[in-house]
Amino acid sequence: MQGYTLAELLAVEASKYVKDDEMNFVGIGTGGQAWIMAVGMPTVAVCLAQHDHAPNATLMIGPVLDPLLDDIYVPDANWEYDLIHWPCRCQIPLEDALGIFRQGRLGLSFASAAQVDKYGNFNIARIGTKENMKVRLPGCLAQTDHGAYANRICVTVRHNRRTLVEHVDFISSAGHENREGLPGGGPVLVLTDKAVMDFEPSTGLMRLKSVHPGVKVEDVIENTGFSLIIPSSVPETSPPTKEELQLIREVIDPKRKFLEARITQEAAVLEE
């Protein structure tokens, strides 16, 4: 028994990438595991950073800007009524919120995707080719905009060959293959249930950074649909400290609204 959950491990890891005095972004999301990866875990990451090295970091949850993130302020459900009443410092028209990151003022943007490839291209639009489409997904949302303008992107996905693919079927967000003319920095961090990955600066290719405690490098290679860059030595992802766990469990998310998606209509855990 390791004494922490996967969602806690990922939240602590992601929090290290939140910088002080930057605007960070999560969407409004759907429910269940997908919501934990795209919204719940990232929100806890930002709140952890606010309690530590980034007290001036802010979060944008759609048009709700700079909400109070400790549990006592967070609504029990995410109906529209509750989102409108969530204590925050600013509610602005969505097109103005989107304007913030077009000006290069978006720090870390959190995303999830149906497919991610070796260059960090994401796909949330369709599986299959246009002529032979297996699944038409809902569409790009603002992900394309984040790919173009966010300073940094953290994507969280399941670690399997269906998701981590050689080439995505549709590029809904641009990775590192060609960023000519794009103001943003693209993806910097890939979090999965097995490992943490980043991108090699010289090639823009995805590289293994650390494996979660108990996971073997071979297991990561086996479950990745392309040839991942493997450094000569691969450390373990740092487990959460006692203090970090206490902060998450007592102050930030005691009711598991975020890390088990209990704020949505569909509670879940990241462990399968």
């Binding site: 759907t30 529209e80 409108i84 028209p93 097109e95 038409r136 949302l141 394309t144 905009d145």
Partner: protein
């Protein structure tokens, strides 16, 4: 010659008749929020054909129009049912190539409405660089910034024939208001309406002009922009309507389940849309208990 003031309050049926086959129809609302469903039902009942539907973030509004075969082309950044899942008719029609769908990002779709709303021929964006938005011809017009020489993509303005929106209240002259506390996702509705040649707004309530005059800062569309107003309480159902009522997740799940097959969708439409001669009959089928369950009873602060 002495003229009368124009009373813009019309029936849902009359509103539907303002839309012609082949029109470009812009639909306000976002995701599962405040899409003008009463008017969507009426468009379906009047069997409009070959519409091009435009939005920035859509759900059951697009899905139903596509399933009912009113649509030849659709533009949005999203067509889905949020936490209820994929939009079944949209998925089926696009996979089978029956409807041309043009993928946009949120800023690209909104920029195209803003260009239309401000009379500009196009908007400039870097969003489409190096991704598959450029697979559609709408994204292939490159322009060079005359000041820096940088490459940008020109996005042609959306200029819909008609825009349809659901709002909280209006007077009979077409002055449209939104409640002060609201989900700011839907502010784009205002740009959508201003981009169109004609605008129809359905509302939760009709108020006296004096009430509008008492609260003019809450008017988001002056009567100058609005061609017709229709009274349609719960007119966004099953979408949410800010602090007035929640997303009806129960009915949305029923819609999704029945729409998983073409036969099931036809059965849903027969039961809820085609056999209802107006919006009130649809609401009776949803039932008072269900509507009460999603209704918030707070007093709207002004």
């Amino acid at each position: 010659m002495k003229m009368e003031r124009i009373n813009k309050l019309i029936t849902l049926k009359q509103a539907g008749e303002m839309i012609s086959d082949g029109d470009k129809v812009a639909i306000a609302g976002s995701l599962i929020r405040r899409h003008p469903m009463a008017l969507v039902h009426e468009i379906v009942r009047q069997k409009k054909k070959n519409l091009t539907i435009l939005g920035w973030n859509n759900g059951i509004d697009f899905d139903m129009l596509i399933g009912a075969e009113c649509v030849k082309e659709a533009h949005s950044s999203y067509v889905g049912l949020s936490n209820v899942g994929l939009a079944p008719n949209f998925r089926r029609a696009v996979q089978e190539g029956k409807v041309r769908f043009v993928d946009h990002s949120e800023t690209c779709a909104i920029d195209k409405f803003r260009a239309g709303a401000t009379g500009a021929p196009y908007a400039l964006s870097k969003t489409p660089l190096h991704n598959d938005l450029q697979k559609n011809p709408e994204y292939q017009k490159e322009v060079t910034d005359p000041f820096t020489g940088e490459k940008w993509i020109a996005l042609e303005a959306f200029r819909p024939n008609i825009a349809i929106m659901h709002a909280h209240r209006a007077d009979i002259y077409g002055n449209v208001q939104l409640d002060p506390q609201r989900m700011m996702d839907n502010e784009t509705d205002i740009l959508i309406c201003k981009s169109a040649d004609k605008v129809i707004v359905t509302v939760e309530e009709i108020v006296e002009e004096e009430e509008i005059i008492r609260t003019p800062a809450q008017t988001v569309l002056s009567k100058f922009f609005v061609d017709a107003v229709v009274l349609a309480p719960y007119g966004a159902h099953p979408n949410s309507c800010d602090l007035r009522y929640d997303f009806d997740i129960q009915h949305s799940r029923l819609y999704r389940d029945m729409s998983l097959s073409q036969e099931g969708f036809i059965e849903y439409m027969d039961k809820y849309v085609y056999s209802s001669s107006n919006w009130e009959e649809y609401l009776e089928k949803i039932g008072k208990d269900r509507l009460d369950a999603i209704t918030r009873t707070d007093i709207i602060r002004r």
